[in-house]
């Protein structure tokens, strides 16, 4: 049923349609609307689930681990510092092979404290053993949750559905919410591989020494590799039943004969696609590649998608998070994907790869800035030196230079964040201001 609906509400409805039995949550912006809506559905008895208010994110993840181990379909949601706070338990859910589903409403990590959107939070947990799916739209965010339960339970591995905080969670738009019968037919009841059952007692969570730890980890890796087969199959079955493409590993956009391809995750793909359309209209061979599944990293799918264009000369990886001192996180995976030998690999020596860090802490990634950045590459076909290997989109060098000057002038230059806010004469960070 088509609805004009807030992204958080759409996700709550999709989660409810997936019939979770236990929901644990601790509120944190911008995730809160999702669990608020679920709590309301439980209270109205439209959803038959146990809704646990817990005292922290650590407790939220610990409680869903317990619920999942007891055989319940379990769900939670968080963001930012909340994800960090539950991090120890996040690793445990994956290590124990418990098919929990969690929404991460992507938000920056402090300090400086920042409630706005980027991918720092989810990226920090990229090697926790969770599958990570990134939604491009609210329709996809809703659909991915239904797929996530099926993937998680079939593999016995937790799945994190990442959706951009505010940009998606707080946007009202048209979303097709499926019917309960359709979802029931797609998502069978949970059949646990392991369950805490008083009738047939087992213990879960043994200490494992050097004698078998590697082997447990080996199987975790195998499970993630199986996910690379299962995720596209689950998406294909979803498309078959629900009539739309959501999920999968990667998605190409106008990559045919592209000389330049932009790689990104999440809702920023909207602005990238708009920019690709503009530049294509001007005769420039530009395309985009969206990565929906970031963990496990779909190396082969990325390689195939890029191999699709024989003209490819330049890749721009747009990063919504930063690895300070190292560069781009997604870029590293893209490099590895290209370097993997499969007999028909791209030749990285001829391919220029640039990392562009964009949209940190909620700075909008505008079509105008994307266009200017891409023109620095696409226009200089003989010399791709127009865009450096590593750069920040829309970096305000005046602010940076001002602080650097202060640091040169005095040893006790003071706190950087506060200095910059003073330079900008900002008293309420992020307060509503008309266009710059």
């Amino acid at each position: 049923m088509l609805k004009q609906i807030e992204g958080s509400r759409a996700v709550a409805e999709a989660v409810a349609l997936s019939r979770p039995q236990v929901i644990c949550a601790y509120p944190i912006t911008p995730q809160t609307h999702i669990v608020e809506a679920l709590g309301a559905l439980v209270k109205k008895e439209e959803l038959n689930a146990a809704f646990l208010n817990v005292e922290s994110e650590f407790a939220a993840m610990s409680a869903v681990i317990g619920a999942s181990a007891a055989g319940a379909r379990a769900y939670t949601a968080t963001a930012s510092q909340g994800l960090l706070y539950m991090s120890e338990a996040v690793y445990n859910a994956a290590g124990l092979g418990l098919p929990v589903v969690m929404t991460v409403a992507n938000r920056a990590i402090g300090a400086p404290i920042n409630i706005w959107n980027d991918h720092s939070d989810a990226m920090s947990q990229r090697d926790s053993g969770w599958i990570q799916l990134y939604a491009e739209t609210n329709q996809e965010a809703a659909d991915l949750h239904i797929q996530a339960f099926r993937i998680a339970e079939e593999l016995s591995n937790p799945v994190m559905v990442c959706m951009d905080g505010f940009v998606l969670t707080h946007a009202s738009e048209r979303v097709d919410i499926p019917g309960q019968d359709e979802v029931d037919a797609y998502l069978p009841p949970y059949q646990p591989r392991q369950v805490l059952d008083p009738e047939d007692p087992v213990s879960i969570g043994a200490m494992v020494g050097p004698e078998a730890f590697t082997e447990v980890r080996y199987l975790a890796d195998q499970r993630m590799r199986q996910a690379l087969e299962l995720i596209p199959a689950t998406a294909a079955d979803f498309a078959c039943r629900f009539g739309r493409d959501s999920g999968g590993l990667v998605r190409r956009y106008r990559t045919e004969d592209a000389e330049l391809i932009v790689i990104a995750l999440g809702s920023v793909l909207a602005a990238i696609k708009d920019t690709v359309d503009d530049l294509r209209q001007e005769g420039l061979r530009v395309g985009a590649l969206g990565i929906t599944t970031f963990r496990p990293f779909p190396s082969q799918a990325v390689r195939e998608a890029l191999g699709h264009s024989r003209r490819l000369r330049h890749l721009v990886v747009l990063e919504r998070a930063l690895a300070p001192g190292s560069g781009g996180i997604v870029t590293g995976d893209v490099h590895l994907a290209l370097a993997a030998a499969d007999g028909r690999s791209l030749q990285p020596a001829e391919l220029m790869i640039s990392t562009v860090v964009a949209g940190l802490g909620g700075r909008p990634v505008s079509r105008k800035s994307l266009r200017a950045m891409l023109l620095r590459t696409a226009l200089l076909r003989t010399d791709c030196g127009g865009l450096p290997d590593f750069s920040f989109l829309d970096l305000r060098s005046d602010l940076v230079d001002g602080e650097l000057a202060r640091m040169r002038a005095a040893r006790r230059s003071g706190p950087t964040a506060e200095n910059m806010l003073r330079d900008l004469d900002v008293t309420a960070p992020g307060a509503a201001r008309p266009a710059n």
């Binding site: 505010f166 940009v167 707080h170 048209r174 909207a270 909008p364 960070p429 509503a432 008309p434 266009a435």
Partner: protein, 197 residues
Amino acid sequence: MFQVRFHGRGGQGVVTAAELLASAAFHEDRHAQAFPSFGSERMGAPVMSFCRIDDKPIRTREPVTDPDALLIQDPTLLHSEDLFAGLTADGYVLINSAKSVAELGLADLAAGHPADRLLVVPASALAMTHLGRPLPGAPMLGGLAAFANPVDLDAVLAAIGERFHGQVAAGNAAAARAAYEYVTAEVAQLTEEKAGA
């Protein structure tokens, strides 16, 4: 695509108004998107929200920088912020006030703008009369429907009926209707003056 930017203060229903407009467009089987300026919203602090309406799916998620219409729910913001940034040359402006454009100190803006596209409506007063609370969102949308018409009044009323219930729905609907009539009369008077001049 028709793009609207709402300006007001936390607690005035600025975000709800944008969502109502999007729902109204949805009722007309059109595509719409509404979202707030993402910030640490607090009662009384300046807040913006945005709405886009189109006949085809809307992909962009950028804040609206060049609005076709501006809805200013709190006139005390008029001189503290550049609310009119990016407004298209013949864009629609509706200000929640019982004062005239000149009395609001907007003579300079008015001089360079089509008179029938820069209007006022006493939305808070209408809301007090019909709803008993000074929440200007619904009457602002009624007023917008009367002169910019991105959606019809019926669609606004349908969206109100869906979002609210009982007395609150009835009060908001009555306020929206009253604002629609107010702005319709305002436009008629301007047309008359223009014909007479």
